[in-house]
């Protein structure tokens, strides 16, 4: 568990990117899980988990006021667990993705709590804000950023600490083969991504034909390889 502290700090930084700063999408699962995998020595495994989570994440649009999963810390947990468990063992990808999804779901709840905490702080500062205090404005901003980093780092640490032993034990009694395990997870991820693509893009004129043409190209490339 020597990796716990660096992973928590990484989860904190990438979780902060989801909403607060700097929103450069280093928190996207494809990026975050790959970096986490590299952190524990296996970027290739990290990116397999990241790509799978990225497909699923395509269906969640982060509209400001709605509740959505927190992918940054989640992908760090999922990528690190799968990379540590060794990807060549059947079930490792499945378990990494599952850990990522569970953390993302809890992470969405922690974001709601963070926003409630920020509102509480803002209420306490209301008289100063009404009086035009620039210190109050900057203070609220810094407090919110700090709280979000602490939230994401704590989420990553707790989730990794709880899920790693469960994942390790689960992998020991995993009964499906590697190919079946990957096929099930990928099938679901592709289904979620395809429905998201349809929902997001179908209203643009010609988008359906573009998708069909792209699919034909993709399948041709597969056949040709």
């Amino acid at each position: 568990m020597r990796e716990l502290l660096p992973l928590a700090l990484l989860g904190g930084a990438l979780g902060l990117d989801v909403v607060c700063f700097p929103q450069m999408m280093i928190s996207r699962p494809l990026v975050a899980a790959t970096i986490a995998g590299a952190f524990v020595g296996d970027a290739t495994t990290g990116i397999l988990v990241g790509a799978t989570l990225e497909l699923i994440a395509l269906a969640t649009l982060p509209f400001g006021a709605s509740r959505y999963p927190e992918w940054g810390s989640a992908a760090v947990v999922g990528g690190a667990i799968a990379a540590t468990l060794q990807m060549d063992r059947a079930g490792a990808l499945t378990i990494g993705v599952l850990a990522g999804l569970a953390t993302a779901w809890v992470g969405g709840w922690t974001l709601v709590k963070l926003r409630q905490f920020n509102a509480w702080l803002a209420r306490r500062q209301r008289p100063a804000l009404d009086a035009g205090s620039r210190g109050a404005v900057a203070g609220l901003q810094i407090a919110g950023l700090t709280a979000d980093f602490v939230r994401a780092a704590t989420l990553t640490a707790v989730s990794y600490l709880l899920l790693f032993p469960v994942s390790y034990a689960t992998l020991g009694v995993w009964s499906f083969g590697d190919r079946t395990s990957r096929a099930v997870v990928m099938g679901l991820a592709i289904a979620v991504a395809a429905s998201a693509a349809w929902t997001n893009f179908h209203s643009a004129r010609g988008a359906r034909w573009c998708f069909a043409a792209g699919l034909a190209v993709g399948l041709l490339v597969l056949v040709a390889r």
Binding site: L61, F63, S66, Q116, R123, T199, N200, S203
Partner: protein
């Protein structure tokens, strides 16, 4: 098709409406009912920029809209009826035959209490919502399609700390 959503949202046109609801329901037009916006060219211009070119937006005052809703219900494509406050929606329930009301966002202002993370209501607004229900409207709160539709009684009973 018809008006597939009758929504109260003080942000009027924004992402949850245009993308969150608009895309899965394949919405082709929005009827924005607001007395102030109906009179203001520059505000209409701004809101027009907020919807995609393939989506139409029509502006009405509450009085005007009440007489036009039957016409909109006959349209061949799905649309959204949108008001920025409860009073305007109440006029449409009473005079325009609206039967389902979605509360999508009423945000913080002095004198309002938080019920959900996206619904803050004053005493008068709570009473106005009850009156909508007594006029036969089914009132629920739901910000995006994937969220649960929360019935009015549960909404009014809920208290959250922001």
């Amino acid at each position: 098709m018809t008006l597939v959503l009758n929504r109260i949202d003080d942000r009027l046109i924004h992402g949850q409406v245009v993308v969150g609801w608009g895309q899965p329901l394949d919405v082709r037009f929005i009827v924005l009912v607001d007395d102030a916006v109906a009179e203001s060219e520059w505000e209409q211009e701004l809101y027009r920029m907020g919807v995609p070119p393939e989506m139409e937006i029509r502006f009405h005052s509450a009085a005007d809209a009440a007489t036009r809703l039957d016409e909109y219900r006959m349209e061949g494509q799905p649309g959204i009826l949108l008001t920025g406050d409860i009073a305007t929606m109440r006029a449409l329930v009473e005079r325009g035959g609206v039967r389902d009301v979605n509360i999508g966002g009423i945000h913080h202002r002095a004198g309002r209490v938080q019920h959900l993370r996206y619904v803050f209501l004053s005493e008068a607004e709570q009473e106005a919502l009850r009156e909508l229900a007594t006029h036969g409207a089914l009132v629920t709160a739901q910000d995006v399609p994937a969220a649960r539709a929360i019935p009015l009684n549960e909404l009014l009973g809920a208290r959250e700390d922001a």
